[in-house]
């Protein structure tokens, strides 16, 4: 990737480099949420009949741990990730000359 930018002698907007990192963090958290949710759900029910399920607060354990706790945990994880890694940054183009004219000028 860096090769293409180097060849064209394009200096990367530092914001974009960080945006790519943030995108990877978002994807990572999403995949982890999925992996945990599915694994917990499967592990708690594989080989068991419904009458053999454990229950937590009335809910089947896999629903409680695999969905409720995992997803609420995800909310907490995202809040943390946002606090720790995501940065506020200005969204306006860096240079007014770079800004496209309004659509129907």
């Amino acid at each position: 990737m860096a090769n293409l930018l180097k060849d064209y002698q394009v200096e990367e907007d530092s914001r974009y480099a960080w945006c790519f990192t943030e995108a990877k963090i978002a994807l990572f958290l999403f995949v982890v949420c999925g992996a945990v949710s599915l694994t917990v759900t499967y592990a708690m029910t594989a080989g068991r009949q419904p009458r053999e399920y454990d229950f937590v607060f009335g809910l089947p354990a896999y629903l409680f741990w695999g969905i409720v706790v995992t997803d609420l945990g995800f909310v907490v994880a995202t809040a943390l990730a946002l606090r720790l890694w995501y940065r506020d940054m200005p969204l306006d183009p860096a240079d007014p000359a770079d800004h496209a004219p309004p659509e129907d000028a």
Binding site: F30, T45, F55, D71, T78, P93
Partner: protein
Amino acid sequence: MRWNIVVPFVIYIVANLLVGVYGQRVLARTAKERFVGEYYGAGRDLGAIILAFTLTTSLVSAGTFIGTPALGYSEGFVWLVIVSAQIPAAFLVLGMLGKKFAIIARKLDAYTVPKVLVARFPHPLVGAGSAVLMVVFLASYMSAQFIGGSRIFETMSGVPYHVGLMMMVFTTVIYTAIGGYRAVVLTDTLQGAVMLFGVIALFLAIISHSAGIAPLMDRLVAINPKLITPDFDQHYSWATITTMGWVLLGIALLGLPHGVVRAMTFKNSRAMHGAMVLSTGLMFLFTFIMLFSGTAANTVLGPGVSVPDTVIPRTIVALFPPVIAGVVLAAPFAAIMSTVSSMLLVCVSGLVSDVYVDALGKQLSFSGRATLDRVMTFVLGLIVFVMALVPPPFLQGIVFYAIGGLASCFVVPLVFGLYWPRANTSGAVAAIAAGPATYFVVATFFPKPLGVHDVAWSIAAAAVAMVGVSLVTKRPSHEVIRRFWGKVAD
């Protein structure tokens, strides 16, 4: 005619129209040159709360409030497991497209997804082509939402199908046409509040009906123990559960233009961050409660309801005293209208902006443009109305392919376009052709090969096409790279 349902519904309709009028007032005060920005993006003014509500409600529709709970009624908690994948998906959309998408949209003065794509991959198929595809799929999807909603409204309230349809379509079209994006996001917020009230009330009522969650579970097991299994007693393979959930309802949401467009209209990065957390919380409440309630409805209605799509409305009517039932029943319709209004505007923006102005190169004065935007909203709304009134025979077929087709088309070009510099126009065209084509072929002839949902195959095909073709054809132009990666020298 059940007035206890009709009256709250009418009050709710009027409230939405008033918000539309407010949106129109803001537009009237907006300078002509900024009309497009205001009509399609509310001037990129969204704060965290409104952004969270509009994103969540635009993504959550009859599918979450009626359709999948109906499946949950028949097949149990497997559907809660599958649909729970959408809970982190709003976060994913904002997080993956994020600020780069927002910065670039501002740079390009873009309010539509095709416009961003065509700036990255200059080619008519990418701009006008994807816009047309978007309109065809979404128009059918909108009709299907209204058809479903009107049928249910007729069942519950006694109001004839075409009258209920008119009320819903005209309201949505009017507030969208006159008030634009601002009216859409504000009504989305109002509708989100109604949906929130509805789901909380429903959850509490359905639990107290059985005097507790544990007794409710006992009843479900007594009716059919398979209902509480996560896979409908191994009827669904884990490959299917994983891909129907985490790919179709998760990753694929990155390709839905009416959701993605929200990512270019927030006011600053703090708004985005706040919305990422808040929208996940909202998604959790809507998804968990509605899918739980679908299955739990067996304890209220018994297992014998013949048209499962009516399960949620019937449950609401069974659990609540008359007037409250009317108010809670507004929630599924709120879910429908919030999604359709967003889809409608995105379609109009595609037709006017991407096809008429950009691709066909037609010049318009500021006021001409404003008129065309509004007129097209009405026209498209009318077309959707006619399609819902007299459903064309191919409608269900197109709807079936609509969301998967859109995802197969947009996810790969968008994500690769933003983050992989070597992705080029040929690769994008290949992906836009390969994605939907693969989806169509797989869904029609070999559904769910190896248990893996069709959309996983089509997105993979699009990705292979993008990478493969890009690497063997020439690199993108200096201009494109500079625009999407560079900073301007000080």
